[in-house]
Point group: C2
Amino acid sequence: MRTIRIILMGFGNVGHGLIDIIREKKGILAKQYGLALKVIAVIGSRYAIVEEDGIDLEKLGGCDKHSKGILQYAGNVSEISSSKNLLDRLEGDVLVEASPTNIETGEPGFSHIHDALCKGMDVVVLSKGALVQYSKELWDTARLKGGRIKISGATAAALPTIDMAQYNLAGNDIYKIQGVLNGTTNYILTRMHREGISFTEALQEAKEKDIAEANPKLDIGGFDTAAKLLILANNIFGTSLRLKDVDIEGIENITKEDIAEAIKANKTIKLVGEAVKETYNLRLRVAPLALESNNILTRADYKDKAVVFYTDLMGNISIIGGGSDPRAAAAAALKDIINLYKI
Amino acid sequence: MRTIRIILMGFGNVGHGLIDIIREKKGILAKQYGLALKVIAVIGSRYAIVEEDGIDLEKLGGCDKHSKGILQYAGNVSEISSSKNLLDRLEGDVLVEASPTNIETGEPGFSHIHDALCKGMDVVVLSKGALVQYSKELWDTARLKGGRIKISGATAAALPTIDMAQYNLAGNDIYKIQGVLNGTTNYILTRMHREGISFTEALQEAKEKDIAEANPKLDIGGFDTAAKLLILANNIFGTSLRLKDVDIEGIENITKEDIAEAIKANKTIKLVGEAVKETYNLRLRVAPLALESNNILTRADYKDKAVVFYTDLMGNISIIGGGSDPRAAAAAALKDIINLYKI
């Protein structure tokens, strides 16, 4: 049995979900993978729990998420002054970075990941920001320090995109990737197609159902799709492209008429993220495309995601589906931990 | 750079394809995975090439397949008396087993794999027979000897089914698997659906196009699907089930009328292999099922394959597509070699 000491950064939906899953899966983790996962710290934005002998996951799972839950578990803890200082004095094997993400600054994720790598830890990343802004820096640091970075939870969560490219398709030349990578926009477009409603109506509905955020600009403007595409592309193709290198067009201007026209032509409009290898270039773009009905991406409905990999040896391979809830994202992190350490 | 010594058993379409791919991918294998693949022996049913310093892949790639190609490469070699004796005196890292398969006897694959494991080698398996007949024996031997067995090429070749379950979905409870796993029957059913032709007509057409074999019993009777399902199930669920444990119904009795009725109900008939976890049992069956049009398996047309994994944490994840030519199967073996040894 191998004991792995986990430091969890962030205790929102996904962080809390991970705590639950690690507890529920204890038996399987031991039996099937030879792993005992010991969470030695949970670090929120204001408070932290540190227990080097392992946090009581049953108890923590019964607490709320965010600062409130940490306080419920730990009673009267003092506010943390700096997560860096805290991280510095902890001895863990892997950092799970699940802080709130900011794809414009990459923080606080970048500092967390960088600090952990510098301490010789491995990192499992769920938040996109650092990977969008500092991909090259992080991989350079990992190489230098001998640490490993796993990013399943930061690309399409439960849909295994990066594993697919790096493990299942190892040895292939992947010359194109096309994906429906954002659940919110896909929900909106699906509703527009099925019900003939307008973009504004569909967006309103998505907000009411908590599918779209109050400020949905990142989703409907195509930026979330672009961020996921960029992370995938930089990791699969070894490039160091930036968000500014992605041609981005959102779905704000898709009209009822556009949809009606697509339907008449037996097509479906999807917001597609696309990476295409050109002779001297990797071209990245996000745009609403009218896809032929035999394109497998048209089968991703509502909050579903889907990706098609075009390869030289194995033909075209598509993956589709995957839960889109925080628990599914947490499961992607657990998967990464297993694949890093399983015996 | 890590040098891996490969012994290739079988020099048919797939074996020859692997030789080609290893040669073509030399640069990528070195640069991306730190691997130098050295083929030290190619063992056919009657003749063999042994070159401990590495066979000239350029030259061998230019030769025919089968015994004829081996003789073209090696000139006047004497017939081999026993591949076991030959294997015994070779020092390799990995055996690639690509001999003609016999799912009733499991030979000659079983002897090859067993002998290689006993010598402390790893094995990459492309032929199904041994895995269908001797799954438990092989895994027991591997455990005892510390060898590893990879089987991507033996389940759905280019479609990464086993990797999906064991790597991409690690930590999940997979409680059901449904797949369209046989290209020949799927071609026949697709033609019957699209053209309204009879089973006999569609089969005849498949034979003329070299999609169906002269004796297509294994395919149309559902046995090939059952063999793949069994290999998947035993490896994913850790069971030791046998072919006799699979309920098998083929597509021989599907009539034009069955198809017409399915179309009227907006359904599609597919030959489905299904593994379902029950409380005290794993139920395996192969049967033609009329699937609802929203079932993703209905999107696997002609020679396409598809598999849906039902999981507790990540929802339903489907994979679809993948080349079905010998080169794609060879690529599955190369992928396994990379994942065994990459640096």
